[in-house]
Symmetry: C2
Subunit: 146 residues, 2 copies
Amino acid sequence: MTEHSLWRFSRALHRAINERQFGDIEALIDEDVEWSLYGPVEMFPFFGARRGKAAVLDVIRQIAENVRVHRFDRETIMLGADSAASMMRYSLTALDSNKPISVRLAHFAQFREGRLRSLRMLLDSYELVEQALGRPLHLPKIALSA
Amino acid sequence: MTEHSLWRFSRALHRAINERQFGDIEALIDEDVEWSLYGPVEMFPFFGARRGKAAVLDVIRQIAENVRVHRFDRETIMLGADSAASMMRYSLTALDSNKPISVRLAHFAQFREGRLRSLRMLLDSYELVEQALGRPLHLPKIALSA
């Protein structure tokens, strides 16, 4: 049984982010990849949509310049033949401020011949914003209590 | 081929939220259900973790008192025999303020004998907070540009 494409991609992505070694990840991205990281792009310019291998490699380099991954815990996972989805909690450091950031995210990935064809990633962006700012935003209570 | 549990659950959930008809959803929730909606619980008390059918029915009632669903677009989906994950965009109205809210979310669900056994849901919480507040929060740019 061959290894699922997700595991190889995940190792290569973390190697790219933490060691700035981009050789492995480069070989695992489809030329026509579609890539969307949904999040506050005004705060973190590496969020947003990208199309094509060159643009995606650029954005991975940008992420590597901004964060280090300390650990990640995969809380839920679904694997298909050429697809994968998981919910994970990441512990990161923001490199400019040296702030620790812990954030939950969900991703949906599709692969073609072992290479990433599509990635959509969503995260608990308010949790991220508060930690990146380093202070709570003191939200008003909006919903009616039961 | 029988219908996937997700579709029945999804219809019953929307009926509960929009029509306050809880009979269908009640029959589709396992007694020992585990339920986590990750999001800003200080703003919306219906976020957070619940355990057991009674607690989950309570929280669905609380959601029904706070929002109406106008439409949802399923952007990505994975289905397993007794599991499902999807990324969706929801268009809602917050009932107290009559504000329209559009938010992307991801959920992972597990079913047992057609009933919901586990649900984890994550959403683009910053996007939600901004719309619920009705104003942008003017975030500083944190990340280095490439």
